[in-house]
Amino acid sequence: MRTVEVEKVKYFFIESLPYLRVTLLYVTVSLVIGFMIGAGIVCLRKSRIKILAAIASLYVTVLRCTPSIVLLFLVYYGLPAMLGGRVGDALNRMSPVFFVCITFSLFIGASSSEVIRSAYESLRAGQREAGLSVGMTELQTFWFILLPQMVKRAIPNIGNMIIFLMKEGALAYTIGLRDVLGQAYYLSARSINVYAVDMYLALTLIYWPVSLAIEKLFHILEKKMDPAKARRSLRKLSGGVA
């Protein structure tokens, strides 16, 4: 039996690490577009037009019940075929990362709508009325009072989503995405997978610290967003003088 070679692990690690930028790219794009879709879904679900609300609910249910790899294949193979003609041809020439972004935007759209909705509903309706009562418009009330609190409440969930996206993205090597995992697989294949274990070890060494760092970052962010809490701990430090 062959033992793990540190040299090989190092090789895979160093050669794959730069491809984190691809991961970063699709995670960012999917989050931004996904949250826009999510916000739209929430608006539709709250709308008075029953049919729109029903469609939005259906979207969330369907997306939540679809495995990511199924949706990924449907988007990658299905979309160009469905659209056909010139558009289909153009789509066929697009890079895999494009399809990954679409897929994950759709997913994040569904899950973020739940995050947004719960953040919104956890806010006391009274704060909106209080804003209106001092002469603010609906929009001002939303912008100055409700939105900041919603963001604060959504932050732990956003952190989870980023980690989820990073790991799920590993599936996308199946459509030829060259992210960290895709690159490592590619390199490993060149040496007919003799050094597969070294490669997986290198991948673990990449994914773990990054996930940990993101988790830590969001913990800090969460604290930062709560000025009262931040100050209370400061007071404690300075001898508990309020």
Partner: protein
Amino acid sequence: MLKVQNVKKSFGTNEVLKGVSFEVDKGDVVAVLGASGSGKTTLLRCLEFFERADSGHMELGDLSVDLHVHSKKTARQIRQKTAFVFQNYNLFENKTALENISLGLTAGHGLSKKEAEKIAAAALERVGLSDRADYYPCELSGGQQQRIGIARAVAVNPDVIFFDEPTSALDPELVGEVLDTIKALAKEGTTMVIITHEMAFARDVSTKVIYMDGGVIVEQGPPDVIFTKPREERTRKFLARFIQDFDYVI
């Protein structure tokens, strides 16, 4: 100054307001009494456009509004001339005490930040909480939160302030400080409509008492009349229940 006519409101088949009319003059402190479910809160919520009344009319200063058919713009115009103090305080949780007050002035009334902060600081002073300017609502007691709620309402210099049971959510030992704050406002001639269950307070502070039951105003008049010799049997029964040991028959 404030004239409310024939307000009607139903929730489904439940008719909560069956045609309520009353008037408030400048400097009046109107105490609205009545058991829960008598429509007091709904009435004030209709006047602040939190609920859309089924019908009714409201005049405030030179503004005249239909309570059922109104544009967002007129609703905002009225709200800019009124203020509301909530049972649950409803302070903005992401803002400090001072910002809670100044936000209404900058965003709601178009004042500059500097002016707004000056007025807000003065309003905090008025409710005796200058030393809590930088505190967030979650760091304050219920009584302090409600006093800031009152300061927020006072700061926008409204024609009239509506109070929806301002002490009902407070621990008993905190009720006093809030009532004292409202009393001080009354002394300064602030026009207020106050829903309350604090009978002694209502009698002390008000210039006019409205007793509501079953969605109508049963009786209204000066406090010494309502509390000592009410005309209506229903008012008498209600007061007797609330102030058993109270010397309302002198």
